[in-house]
């Protein structure tokens, strides 16, 4: 299967020239943002974008593979903290942040790999998985919350308890430090790569088998697939994607606190994915951007109820569009086009 077919395959919204025309126009508009927005505004947009990889990972895991994780922020936090520790101890080294990023992703993958091994190879199913994943992230929050003392430091870096880890270095490649517009481009390109790579994955044979596992794990196994390995692999992949978001977050704000892996933050990726429609990557991409924009805009205008509004939106969507708003609208459009043809 060629590259083009993997990108435009049927397992995500949008296959025709119209979709790709609009998609390319949107991408071009984002790339042109520095021409008509301030650096501060571009920095804010970076924030709306940076959660997208984590949401895409959850979409793969929950929407395509049928395994709901309520604890993706654990891997977001692990990658962020490990990056902070490594890069913070390598200040002045031109590749310290790159090494920190790789270290952060490796740590997220390792923890997810160990945790996932016990979950999937023990054939834990259904609603036990989200509970276990949530427990892991709450344990992580509890642990990080009690690291305020001076003894909780790694080299030169203080973990900082609920005060958080501060002064985390920005991303840097050799002499080039990413902030402002350059950081915006860095996030934009990474998010695009993550999206297109996920799209290729779901359209490849691996993705079709994930759909089979989602529908009937036992039937899939009885056709000769080791579903434990595939669920585990998808779980680790989702953790790495959450880790990418965690890295971008600490490189964006230069700090992280244990609340980032707490209950409230743990619920947000589930909301983004559910509101857009967990079955399609593109729906999740758009919903994550829109809801982060909404949340940030409401909160920055002093609205105390930003999260209440987001929560209410989730309830409305679950009642009226159980498959998610964007997936429902896309289906409706496709049916209309089919009837017209």
């Amino acid at each position: 299967m060629g590259f083009f077919r993997l990108i435009t395959g049927e397992e995500d919204i949008g296959r025709g020239p119209f979709f790709w025309g609009v998609f390319l126009l949107l991408v071009a508009t984002f790339f042109a943002i520095p021409a008509f927005l301030t650096e501060f505004e571009a920095y804010n947009i970076s924030f709306y974008l940076l959660n997208i990889p984590m949401a895409l990972g959850l979409c793969l895991l929950w929407g395509y593979c049928g395994v709901l994780s309520f604890g993706q922020v654990a891997y977001f936090g692990i990658a962020g903290y490990v990056y902070g520790i490594i890069a913070g101890n390598m200040v002045g080294h031109p590749f310290g942040p790159l090494i920190g990023s790789l270290g952060g992703l490796a740590a997220a993958a390792l923890i997810a790999g160990i945790f996932g091994y016990f979950v999937f190879y023990a054939r834990v199913q259904n609603w036990i998985v989200p509970i276990l994943t949530l427990v892991l992230t709450l344990l992580l929050e509890t642990f990080l919350g009690q690291t305020a003392g001076y003894q909780w430091r790694v080299g030169a870096v203080q973990l900082g308890g609920y005060n958080g880890m501060t002064g985390i270095p920005s991303f840097q490649l050799g002499p080039m430090v990413f902030f402002g517009f350059s950081f915006f481009y860095y996030v934009l390109i990474l998010v695009l790569i993550c999206y297109l790579a996920c799209r290729m994955l779901v359209n490849a044979r691996f993705g079709k088998v994930l759909l089979a596992i989602r529908e009937d794990p036992l039937r899939t196994e009885m056709l000769g697939y080791d579903i434990r390995f595939r669920q585990w692999l998808t779980f680790v992949l989702a953790a790495v994607l959450a880790g990418i978001s965690g890295l971008l977050y600490v490189q964006w704000g230069n700090y992280i606190t244990p609340t980032q892996v707490g209950l409230l933050q743990a619920a947000l990726p589930v909301i983004w994915v559910a509101v857009g429609g967990r079955e399609k990557l593109f729906a999740v991409l758009v919903a994550t951007y829109a809801l982060n924009w909404l949340n940030y805009t409401l909160a920055s205008q002093g609205n105390q109820y930003a999260l209440v509004i987001i929560g209410a939106l989730l309830v409305i969507v679950m009642v009226f569009f159980p498959r998610g708003i964007i997936v429902t609208v896309a289906d409706w459009l496709r049916q209309r086009r089919r009837q017209a043809a």
């Binding site: 044979r205 079709k208 088998v209 759909l211 089979a212 529908e215 036992l218 009885m222 056709l223 000769g224």
Partner: protein, 242 residues
């Protein structure tokens, strides 16, 4: 002198669910090339036996030997890769996917393992069932009998050496049942070993060469079809007299 190794043998297989004994000391042997039916009233332990053979359930005691190898502790997918294939009692084709995707999934898993004979069996069944590999029909739009056939075809796509069919004709019309029997005869004639759990005695008469009767989790009778069909005590269990 010992004879050739049977394709499948169970030794004193036992499984309990709480206080219920589903399978009790079941020792059966299936030779390569057999077409064997397992019959018995509801609750006799037929489907549990299939679950144990496929690794969906693990026995409390006993062993399962496939081609002489102990597979008792192997996970289901590993048994499939060794040559077991199962269709479930309730149809479990992927209804959210279309026919072509349903066929592509087992093909991708097992293509390397599939020999020329298995390929021929698959093509034969495919022609008779009329389900093409590029058929874009969503499975949810297929009639019941075609779903049953699709699931059988999915299993054949994996090129099994032993085909386990759990009530393959449930809900089928007499014509469809006869079509299914025709396919099974052909598959068996080309060397495929088949075990069928079935309630439909007419179908059993049409296909089986050997019959094993299970009753209350135990092997009640085992032998050639004519011999078993003539036994009064077997009839009695079906009528609830034993």
């Amino acid at each position: 002198m010992t004879g050739p190794t049977p394709l499948l043998a169970t030794e004193h297989l036992a499984k309990r669910f709480g206080g219920v004994i589903a399978t009790d000391d079941v020792s059966v042997t299936v030779e390569a090339g057999d077409l064997q039916c397992i019959i018995g009233p509801n609750g006799a332990g037929k489907s549990t036996l299939f679950s144990l053979l496929c690794g969906i359930q693990h026995p409390d005691a006993g062993r399962i030997l496939f081609k002489g190898e102990d597979i008792t502790r192997l996970p289901p997918f590993a048994r499939v890769r060794k040559g077991l294939g199962l269709t479930f009692q309730t149809n479990r084709s992927f209804v959210e996917l279309d026919v072509s995707q349903n066929l592509a999934i087992p093909m991708a898993a097992m293509r390397a393992a599939r020999g020329a004979e298995a390929e021929e069996r698959y093509r034969y069944a495919q022609d008779l069932f009329g389900l093409a590999e590029d058929d874009p029909t969503p499975v949810r739009e297929l009639a019941h009998d075609r779903r049953q056939w699709l699931e059988m075809l999915m299993v054949l796509a994996g090129g099994p050496e032993l085909l386990l069919l759990d009530e393959p004709t449930a809900g089928m019309s007499p014509d469809e049942t006869s079509q299914t029997a025709k396919v099974l005869h052909h598959l068996n004639a080309t060397g495929l070993t088949i075990i069928v759990v079935e309630h439909d005695i007419a179908f059993v008469r049409e296909v089986a060469r050997r019959v094993t009767v299970l009753h209350q989790g135990r092997v009640f009778a085992d032998g050639a079809l004519d011999e078993i069909a003539g036994r009064q005590d077997v009839r009695d269990i079906y009528l609830g007299r034993a």
